[in-house]
């Protein structure tokens, strides 16, 4: 091999390899999406043409065609209104605001709980049952109380959506608290002994050793929390009587399902997209922050 070829080879590799991997990943996403749409329509076609009624009757109300759902996004839901897609875009921004604030609040509270509990076995034993119990109460039972308690205390600009953010935080903090605790506890005992030889303070051990060790656990929890915060925000809007978000839209389109099912389906797709965007945001943050050994070496 000539020296020129040897010199260009690694350069070409470093530039094309990530690009090819990115293209591959995008292709996989598109293929899976196409397959799912195909399966949905195939199921629709088979059940309609054979007249099967199990497990449920298939018609354009129970399973509207994908193109009908997508088309609905370009149509106004009511006369003299902008297209459904435009309305849902604004509503999802409102829900995203609630979910993002709830996610941030829940993540900070959950992380703080983990940090406090890792330093005291007594506190862990005492408090953990109640932290677990908090999640066994359905969010719909908690939401009205939060709205009544929290909302009047909020400043004017935050009233309404602020209490929904608190409800979203209620769903978010739990996985973060549990996984942070687990992550902080997972510090290598030999590394803890090493820190003892440096006479390191608890605080130093926390920031130099425990927190970096916990990050993979924390990010696993944040991924769960990201989607949970969107669900929490949507559900939180229902008892709050808010019409500005996706929750209000879902409640509204529920009532018209037998006439225009595609509108609820379209709203659900937008809600799912919002959850995915939150998830991808956490994944991107993880990639930027967490340095660890690659699991597979190519």
């Amino acid at each position: 091999m000539s020296s020129a070829a040897a010199a260009t080879l690694p350069t070409r590799r470093t530039f094309t390899a990530p690009l090819a991997a990115g293209t591959k990943r995008a292709a996989a996403v598109v293929c899976v999406l196409a397959a799912l749409v195909g399966l949905y329509e195939l199921y629709h076609w088979v059940w309609v043409s054979t007249g099967w009624t199990h497990p449920f009757v298939v018609d354009d109300t129970t399973m509207p065609h994908i193109w009908v759902i997508l088309h609905a996004l370009w149509q106004p839901a009511q006369v003299n209104q902008p297209a459904l897609g435009t309305i849902l875009f604004h509503k999802s921004l409102f829900t995203a605001k609630e979910a993002a604030v709830g996610f941030g609040l829940g993540a900070v509270i959950g992380f703080a709980i983990g940090v406090v509990l890792v330093h005291s076995r007594l506190l862990t034993r005492g408090f953990l049952p109640y932290i677990v119990a908090s999640q066994t109460i359905p969010i719909l039972a908690i939401a009205p109380m939060v709205v009544i308690w929290v909302n009047p205390k909020l400043p004017a600009g935050v009233q309404g959506w602020g209490s929904v953010a608190v409800i979203a935080a209620y769903l978010t903090f739990f996985p973060v608290a549990i996984n942070t605790l687990r992550g902080l506890q997972s510090a290598d005992p030999r590394a803890l002994e090493l820190m003892r030889t440096y006479a390191a303070s608890r605080w130093t051990v926390l920031w130099k050793l425990r927190v970096p060790t916990s990050l993979p656990y924390v990010f696993a929890a944040l991924k769960i929390a990201a989607t949970a915060s969107v669900v929490g925000a949507i559900i939180g809007e229902l008892p709050s009587g808010l019409q500005d978000g996706l929750g209000g839209a879902i409640l509204n389109f529920n009532q018209y399902y037998s006439i225009e099912p595609q509108e609820l389906w379209a709203t659900n797709i937008v809600a799912a997209l919002l959850g995915i965007i939150f998830f991808v945001g956490v994944v991107a943050a993880e990639k930027a922050i967490v340095r660890r050994a690659p699991e597979t070496v190519e």
Binding site: R190, T197, Y198, A199, K208, L209, P212
Partner: protein, 272 residues
Amino acid sequence: MSESGNVVEIAGVTKTFPQGNVTALENIDLTLRPGEFVSLIGPSGCGKSTLLRVIGDLIEPTRGTVTINGKTARQARADRDYGIVFQDAVLFEWRNVAKNIAVPLELLGWDRAKRKERVRQMLELVELSGFADHHPWQLSGGMQQRVAIARALAFEPALLLMDEPFGALDEMTRERLNLELLSIWAKLGSTVVFVTHSISEAVFLSTRVVVMSPRPGRIAGIVDVDLPAQRSVETREDPRYFELVTEVRELLRSRGEHLLPEEEAALRSSHE
């Protein structure tokens, strides 16, 4: 430094673990002068690692006292009077090599420029200058252990504690690192306590070999290694080296009735 000038003074140290009523150490007396390289050798369960941890104030003795540089072991740990190297490198995988070496320097509150300069010197010392930006998983076991040694020595402690630091490495890497450790020790002049279960390693490295026997952990005898101070590959072929190895082995065997059969087998194979 204490008035006596000794780096480590161990007096009447006994350690019993309440669980299972085990006496790990019984009435240990040992004194280390500045610049000594002392190996603790013995079969597993003889308490050599426990003794090292008592010196480092990681385990509290049941009776007796440990004095380091004229201070209590607790005070010495608080003053960062010693550096330690374990059997595993225990590097932080989220930090690169340079930042791993800088960990104790950060805890001591050194500023960035001072840390950077010292890390550069330490990388040179352990011959890893080209690997500052590498992460631990990109290094071989021997290289990781050199990073651990650099980290332990970065803040120039008077005392270096080593707990079977090369025990997990292959024979060839171990022998190379033995030589490297000796050259580092010659440069820095620190006092070293070195735990090992390899007779040849103990004799090759040390100025004194402390032979320990198990159940309860006692000092069976101390061998002064009167080999030339400058050790090299040839040292391992020196007749005096073989005599000393035999002397250590005899001491280990004289307490043989305390050994379990598999420990005796391990002892034999560790020499062969």
